[in-house]
Symmetry: C2
Subunit: 149 residues, 2 copies
DNA sequence: GGTTACCAGTTCCTTCACGGAACGCAGGCG
DNA sequence: CGCCTGCGTTCCGTGAAGGAACTGGTAACC
């Protein structure tokens, strides 16, 4: 719902939440990521209210995360596609899947699998340090004040 | 707000959102991650309504992400701490910071910096394939049906 | 010993966002 | 013509967020 605007806070988490923090937004992003890109498809897949879906899509397009484009001219029909900015947001989804698989998947196992297209490996991604290449977790990080604080 | 419960969906993203998808929850997690762990501290730092903060903290404790513990007995005072489950959730925050720094930080630069404690490197984490060790992004992944679908 | 301050909530009221269903509209199609 | 599909828009009732006041137990100050 977010009556308080997060976009003005001096915090990258808050500013990210301003874009995809509202209810449903990450699931809409996921649908488009996996190829469910049209209004009625998304609405049917998620069971979201059409009104809210309209609002979310409009906002995600305004934010530069999605692109609305016409895929037939007559009749005029539209679909939504990820921009580069939006595609990078999907990395967030990978981490959510990893956590959800680890902590909330029942004994049935994870509902979807992820395969690295380049090497064929099926499993989760890892967070690694860009410098020393060691696996990193949030607990291995020190948070320091930055220039924009 | 989330009147629709995400926890029952066969989707790890939805189930993750069921835990931290509500407004403010990721920011509360961040505060506790950086050491702001008491009720009034969090309330003052975020400017969140006390009522909502109580609801969120209760839910995060119920979900096993936070632990409420007494740090003085007289007067009885409580603070909140991450569990293992909650600490792993903080990896999500790292990715949010990375995206927020890249796409929403003004020319002032990022408000905080992250340093890898082990090697001293200041910067962002990378997503890599656990098998081939190459950098991975969401666009390099194929999504397949899994056992729990 | 009375007042003030602190900490961790709880209660109450108003406003606004969500959910759900109906409606609109434009363009094929039989 | 009447119906269907795709993509929304409008309307209404409910309930969650915001905000401020209040509680209650303890300690510190004057």
């Amino acid at each position: 719902m977010q009556r308080t605007k997060f976009g003005d806070m001096a915090c990258s988490i808050a500013r990210t939440l301003d874009v995809i923090g509202e209810p449903w937004s990450p699931l809409i992003l996921r649908d488009i990521y996996v190829g469910i890109s049209r209004f009625d498809q998304i609405q049917g897949d998620l069971g979201i209210s059409r009104k809210v879906l309209t609002e979310r899509l409009t906002w995600l397009v305004e934010s530069g995360v999605l692109e609305r484009r016409q895929y037939t001219s007559r009749p005029p029909r539209y679909e939504y596609a990820l921009t580069g900015k939006g595609a990078e947001l999907c990395d967030l989804l990978l981490i959510m899947v990893r956590w959800g698989d680890r902590w909330t998947a029942g004994k049935a196992g994870p509902p979807v699998l992820h395969r690295h297209r380049a090497c064929g490996h099926v499993g989760h991604v890892e967070l690694r340090c860009a410098n020393c290449n060691q696996p990193v977790h949030a607990t291995d990080i020190d948070v320091l004040p930055g220039p924009g604080s």
